[in-house]
């Protein structure tokens, strides 16, 4: 499989990145080199191998459903680029 410029543009859109023409060309070349190297994995027959998502084999770690202290609003907004009336402010989504 080889990646073309239009694939890189599509992936950049999915990843919410704007690329300059220079970056787009550089990533096309570098991602091709990396994925070509990754083709190596196809030398291995993994038909009957279970995937490892996690070495600890934990699943659904829950805590008791009890009320705990939450963060003060002042702390929550300490790093907010823009806030208004206790809400994070962003450009209008709907006209």
């Amino acid at each position: 499989m080889s990646i073309e410029t239009k694939d890189v543009e599509h992936v950049a859109k999915l990843a919410r990145l704007n690329l300059t023409d220079e970056e787009r060309d550089m990533f096309t070349e570098q991602l091709n080199a990396i994925l070509q190297y990754a083709e190596k994995l196809n030398e291995l027959d993994t038909e009957d191998v279970e995937p490892t998502t996690h070495v600890l084999r934990l699943s659904n770690v829950m805590r008791e459903d009890i009320v705990q202290e939450s963060l003060a609003q002042e702390k929550v907004f300490r790093n907010a680029p823009e806030e208004e009336d206790g809400q994070f402010k962003v450009p209008a989504v709907l006209e």
Binding site: I34, E82, P91
Partner: protein, 484 residues
């Protein structure tokens, strides 16, 4: 000989006998930083006022004769991807250049409980992605042994600070080798614990199934103490392991008679001849101390780097989606719409390596490619883990070099990501298997440190610490200091 060359117990007995005070230790750290860090570049943010206030509090505690914490009075530097309340935490990224955390990560809380003193936050590759520290978006770190060479990465600041005497010890984080490789390049001890032993709460996530915090120290004994302070179950990290924490220092008995060591032949192939010679010499020494070693095969080693870059980048692309310019971090100006705000903030905030990994991970997870790349890599991860499981049925420890070369020159690999990735070929398989490993100095090649890697069974940090301590007690490599 400086204050930081004293053993932890000796520092504590001098504190108790009033020959030394905590402020002396803190002054030593800032004096060395002032004298050297302009050349080294290890620190991003200093906690000078906070550290002096903490020193005064600890000196009072000492005067009152109270019980002293395990790491009492010792100045520590922490990699800048661990959140510290009220002290900037940037991950060496422009995106987080103004990020003022609202809580302490669990390791930071534990360091405070152990009475250590936080000196400052250490430089790193942006979001822990890289092996040379050249991906810091603020400034590179230089190797204390040769200022024209890299310190390794991504915990380059942590390893360089310890090697240069700018902290008594440091914390790093390791995803594919980011503690062990810089420790090797800088001639210090670096320990990546078993996945799940140390809480990741408050560690800015890179690849969540691999990330693990660990000590970077001048010697094995300090690594045992620092690990003791930070290990343990944490309900705030759902992947934290519920295991009994042993007393690590009591494992340092010096007795390694009968210990069974496996040496993977794949770890000696393609390695610099001086490194190979140094590893063979180390094995002869361990043999003379009563350990036995045999060559073994970990047949899937050559597939680890490919599997790792697909898995780690996929996890990173998901984890880094939180950086959207809405709740924290640097927001792009003048974005017309919410979508533009996401795009512009991310494009301006992330450096090239971070974008490259996000692109790779997004592609590997995207519709139509998931099975071919992500799922395939997860299956190969199983095969790599089985290599380790099978070897540990017959052996106690796996030993080999930490890296195929010594520290390379600044700028020599920045344009070639794949070559850069291959530097991690001996540390990545261990990360994929989730088992613990440490790097310890075992010699020098042309004046640059060589690291010996010791890999243990899951949650058996004690055995690799015992082996490393026995090795260290019979060698002088760890006593050498760079001329600065």
């Amino acid at each position: 000989m400086t204050l930081f060359d004293l053993r932890l117990q000796d520092i504590h007995s001098q504190l108790r006998s009033k020959e030394l005070s905590v402020i002396d230790l803190v002054n030593e750290a800032f004096a060395k930083i002032g004298e050297r860090d302009e050349r080294i570049g290890a620190y991003l943010t200093l906690n000078e006022d906070g550290a002096r206030a903490e020193a005064a509090r600890l000196d009072d505690k000492l005067a009152r004769g109270e019980d002293l914490g395990l790491l009492f009075g010792l100045p520590i530097g922490v990699k800048d991807n661990m959140v510290t309340e009220g002290l900037l935490t940037t991950c060496a990224s422009q995106f987080l250049s103004n990020y003022d955390p609202i809580y302490d990560g669990t390791v930071i809380t534990k360091l405070k409980q152990a009475d250590s003193v936080l000196v400052g936050k250490l430089n790193m590759d942006e979001f822990a992605m890289g092996g040379s520290n050249e991906n810091s978006s603020f400034h590179p770190v230089r190797n204390p042994w040769d200022l024209n060479r890299v310190p390794g990465g991504s915990s380059g600041g942590s390893a360089a600070a310890v090697a240069a005497g700018e902290a008594y010890f440091a914390l790093g984080s390791d995803t594919g080798g980011s503690i062990r490789q810089p420790a090797s390049y800088c001639g210090v001890v670096g320990l990546k614990p078993t996945y799940g032993l140390v809480s990741r709460y408050g560690l800015v996530a890179f690849a969540s199934s691999l990330d693990q915090i660990g000590p970077i120290t001048k010697n094995v004994e300090d690594a045992a103490f620092l690990l003791q302070a930070i290990a343990g179950y944490d309900p705030k990290d759902s992947t934290s392991a519920q295991v009994e924490i042993p007393n690590y220092a009591s494992a340092l008995t010096g007795d390694i008679a009968g210990l069974r060591i496996a040496v993977p032949k794949e770890y000696l192939e393609g390695v610099d001849p001086q490194i190979k010679a140094s590893v063979m010499e180390a094995l002869r020494l361990l043999e003379s101390l009563g350990a036995v070693w045999e060559e073994v095969s970990l047949p899937h080693t050559e597939y680890a780097v490919a599997a790792y870059y697909l898995l780690a980048s996929s996890e990173a692309s998901s984890n880094l989606s939180r950086f959207d310019g809405v709740r924290y971090g640097v927001r792009a100006d003048h974005a017309g719409s919410l979508i533009d705000l996401y795009h512009e903030s991310r494009s301006q905030g992330f450096g090239p390596e971070v974008k490259r990994r996000i692109m790779l991970g997004t592609y590997a997870l995207s519709s139509g490619y998931y099975d071919a790349y992500y799922l395939k890599a997860q299956k190969v991860r199983t095969l790599i883990k089985q290599d380790f499981d099978q070897t540990f049925e017959k052996y106690d420890v796996i030993v080999g070099p930490t890296t195929p070369t010594t520290a390379f020159s600044l700028g020599s690999q920045v344009d070639d990501p794949l070559t850069m990735y291959l530097n991690d070929i001996l540390t990545i398989p261990v990360s994929l298997a989730g088992v613990p490993a440490l790097s310890i100095p075992c010699g020098f090649a042309d004046g640059l440190p060589i690291g010996l890697q010791m890999i243990g069974k899951a949650f058996d940090e004690s055995t690799i610490l015992r082996l490393a301590h026995a090795f260290e007690s019979n060698t002088d490599h760890h006593k050498r200091r760079p001329a600065l």
